[in-house]
Amino acid sequence: MTGYWVSVVGEDWRWRAFPTRGDYGAVPLNQVARQIADTWDPAKDAAAGEACKAFAAPSVMRIPGRLHITWQDDQTLKIETDSGKQTRLFYFGNLPENKVEDLQGSSKAEWDLGNAGAGGLFFGRGGAAAGPSGSLKVVTNRMKPGYATRNGVPFSNNATLTEYYDLVKEKSGVEYLILTTTLDDPTYMSQPMWTATHFKKQGDATNFTPVSCDGK
Amino acid sequence: MKRTLMLLFPTALLLASTLSAHHSFSATYDTGKTVSIEGKVVQFLLRNPHSFLHIEVKDKEGKVAVYNVEWAAAGQLNGTIASSIKAGDLVTISGNPGRDPADLRLRMVNIKRTDGQSWGFDPGQVVN
């Protein structure tokens, strides 16, 4: 999973690249969330120094851009996004104590071998070396409230984000990283919000261009 | 019987469903407009996924054209006016006009026959 990856935007381009207020597609936001989202004002967020709300854990992976994935240490996988210059840390070991709540929250990671029958638990980088037999499962909570979508659909402090990362390699050599996410947030969602996103492996850091949340 | 083609006021932009499996209604019809036709049934095709009614309409100059009205699936029309509609019936139909004028096509909103039987006025009676 390490290396450079680029978002494949696909037919969701309108929502992912050109978000507009009130255009929610099939997001299951409830009435309270709708009232909040209908007042989304990115300029106001930027002026208040809150432009990064749209780059919180639930939404940052859907923003077109590039990822750089590395091992911070044997127990911690690091994902850096060039869009919004965000860093996500996935802990295979214990979560850090007294972590300040931020938009990326606290992420607990494990290798999920699913039907492969090994019981599902594995630790850190050694698991990654075993090959594409399973998924990386990441559960993130304790996020500072931000946006679940780029156009201001809110998520609350009670939200839990569950992600599965799966690697596939084509016969042509192209590698894809498939990300399946479920956002559970009873405060703002009438049912779980699901997304399926994917990335294509890049050879190097070409076009990995970190840009701040406010576009500068 | 007066047979005229009337353009009614445009309806509010409606629930054009891009969920339609076979085609997007908003791609096929101008779902922001409703027009009305009066005429004689030429043929009724009870079909899946959509039935069709062909209506002969005479305009103000006396020119005759056949309009093609897309209606609901056969199963949806059980026990309705569709069970008795036949060539020769005189009907008034409101519908969304097709985007291609050459098709002379409408998506049924409602239909009323001279004997008072109708469809499209009750909840659930929607072409989707």
């Binding site: 978002s7 696909g10 381009w13 498939i178 | -």
Partner: protein, 621 residues
């Protein structure tokens, strides 16, 4: 401690990996082993519904002129911009199936189940069923090969699968032309689709990679999701019957927008206040770099406008030719007792049975001995009849040898054998009268002796009705088609191919309208089994065996090109001006040629000539 965990973990994972991936060598039914591999992997069984994700983009249709995120090339874009929704009123489009992977993008129910060998319990296949269009897919897990290139295509395609760890990877070929998006964005019949299925709890994520060398500049990958339904929804059918939706519409009307005249081309971009360049799609709309492409709004708008008309160098077909070129004759049963013999120029059709062999066309003659040998494998009795659909040498080159290898016992010992020496000692060759005349004129060997002019020629042979119909002024003035009625196979000759534009020979009486009429004649005789799949099979003059769908596509293409050329003629355009307008632009990537015996320009010239000066004998059917 960390090292112990890693070691234990490695052993666990290694065991799991082996468990997940043990397969016996790819045994397949073809080699007689028939067991198939012992496959273990994620269980996908159950009833599922599509989960509409954040966006609406998972649904089938989409808005007009929204091609964003799709790496379509210029030809595909023009194809899509020429498409109006009223194209769906064309009879053959009303009930078309859902091509893979579009199969997954309908708001309806799905069911997935396994099929196992009853004796060994080995996994033979996965089955996917989709309610809309009652799509039915089989994914073979037993290592069997895909069919040859000249085999028919279907909307489901032919799929084989394997597990990569917990991921089921399915490769599908032999797909019909369908939609990438049902707002006009095509997926060609040269496409290979790879789908990766990953299950997590009650969700399946499907990543489909569409590799279409004809209409995409690079593979399109798209992710969608299914959610398990705990209870069977008990709603699985989707009946569809085509009908005359537009009353009185003729069969050679195919709604289309002329280039540059789509009134809705800007609608989506304008309504949503999006850059038109992005809405028109292209590879840059797949990636974050789109932001750069639209930064200069004036340049972006100009580029978008340019992309709404044909441009760029002439294109040639990017679809592989399925005709075998290995010097061998390949035999495939089509239906009943009718076979395709491919490999010697044009396709050869053979019907066999207790009376003998009825051959339609004889190929180029270069491999005539092998053709005869292949027929002898199918038929213990000799070739009795040969029918030539045209005079062209690649269809009649084998006449002499096949004729002499055959015999017509209906003549020997009859009245005729008293009048003609050697009567019945060779096969009888039949054709439309003008084909005989052309062959005699051009001194081609072994011309037909048994002719028909305007009426059908019929025989009852090998237990079925065999009809030959003259097709006036189609590719020539001597074309015919043959319908084997019990097998329900139509041999179309050069009226229909899957490899090139029709070779309309205006010097020998060919015309575009006659060609269109001939295709519509065929379509009036075809019946599909389900939603434009199966039923009447068609053997084309060149290319793969098909059913009615591909014939309808070919007809549609010719009507659309006709409309474009007619518009140019009406505007007073010369031939050169018409050629410059690129009336075949969106089809050149599938059928075009810039060299060889039949080029795109030659085709356009034939269209122009035959529309401006139609042959006098042309009769619309």
């Amino acid at each position: 401690m960390k090292t112990i965990y890693l070691l234990v973990g490695a052993l666990l994972v290694a065991g799991a990996t082996i468990g997940a991936q043990v397969q016996t060598p790819g045994a397949s039914p073809e080699n007689g082993a028939g067991l198939g591999p012992m496959v273990a992997g994620t269980d996908l069984s159950g009833s599922w519904r599509p989960q509409q994700l954040v966006t609406e983009s998972q649904t089938a249709a989409g808005d007009l002129a929204d091609f964003g995120g799709i790496p379509l090339n210029d030809a595909a874009r023009m194809y899509a911009l020429s498409w109006p929704a009223s194209r769906q009123t064309v009879k053959q489009h009303q009930c078309m199936g859902y091509v893979t992977p579009y199969f997954w993008y309908a708001p309806a129910n799905y069911r997935i189940w396994e099929e196992r060998d009853p004796f060994t319990q080995r996994l033979v296949s996965w089955r996917f069923y989709g309610q809309i269009a009652q799509g039915d897919r089989t994914v073979y897990m037993d290592g069997r090969p895909h069919p040859p290139a000249y085999a028919p295509h279907t909307f489901a395609g032919f799929s084989t699968g394997e597990y990569q760890g917990n991921t089921l990877t399915v490769t599908t070929t032999h797909l019909k032309r369908g939609w990438i998006k049902a707002n006009g964005v095509p997926q060609s019949d040269a496409t290979t689709v790879v789908e990766h299925f990953v299950r997590h709890g009650d969700n399946i994520t499907v990543l489909a990679v569409i590799d279409d060398p004809v209409y995409l500049t690079e593979p399109l990958s798209k992710a969608s999701m299914l959610v398990r339904m705990a209870k069977d929804p008990d709603a699985w059918l989707y009946p569809c019957d085509d009908s005359e939706q537009i009353f009185g519409r003729k069969s050679d009307v195919v709604p289309n927008h002329l280039f540059g005249q789509n009134p809705y081309a800007r609608e989506y971009a304008d309504r949503r206040k999006l850059p038109l360049l992005a809405a028109l799609g292209g590879v840059e709309t797949m990636y974050p770099e789109l932001a750069n492409a639209i930064r200069d709004t004036t340049a972006a708008e100009n580029l978008a406008k340019a992309r709404m008309m044909p441009s760029g160098p002439p294109a040639v077909s990017r679809a592989p030719d399925p005709t075998p070129k290995d010097g061998e004759i390949h035999t495939m049963r089509v239906s009943g007792e009718v076979y395709l013999l491919a490999g010697d120029g044009a396709n050869i059709a053979v019907q066999v049975g207790p009376q003998g062999a009825f051959v339609v066309d004889t190929g180029s003659g270069k491999l005539a001995d092998k053709v005869i040998a292949a027929i002898a494998k199918l038929s213990a009795k000799p070739i009795q009849f040969i029918l030539n659909t045209t005079f062209r040498p690649d269809h009649t080159g084998g006449n002499a040898k096949l004729q002499m290898a055959g015999a017509d016992p209906s003549v020997t010992g009859s009245f005729f054998s008293m009048q003609f020496q050697g009567a019945g000692l060779a096969a009888t060759i039949i054709s439309q009268l003008n084909t005989q005349s052309r062959m005699v004129e051009q001194k081609l060997p072994a011309p037909p002796s048994d002719t028909f002019a305007e009426d059908r020629r019929r025989k009852y042979y090998n237990g079925e009705a065999v009809e030959a119909f003259p097709m006036p002024n189609a590719t020539t003035d001597g074309d015919s088609i043959v319908h084997f009625r019990r097998a329900d196979v139509i041999v179309a000759g050069d009226i229909f191919t899957t490899t090139e534009y029709p070779h309309i020979d205006t010097k020998n009486g060919g015309s575009l309208q006659g060609e269109i009429n001939a295709l519509n004649f065929i379509l009036d005789r075809t019946v599909y089994i389900h939603d434009e799949d199966g039923g009447t099979m068609i053997i084309p003059g060149h290319g793969r065996v098909t059913d009615e769908w591909e014939v309808a596509e070919y007809r549609d293409m010719l009507v659309i090109i006709r409309d474009r050329v007619q518009a140019m003629i009406k505007a007073g355009a010369t031939l050169q001006q018409t050629l410059a307008s690129r009336p075949t632009f969106d089809y050149d990537v599938r059928y075009g040629a810039t060299s060889g015996p039949w080029t795109t320009n030659m085709f356009v010239e034939a269209v122009y000539t035959s529309l401006k000066n139609p042959p006098k004998t042309e009769n619309a059917r």
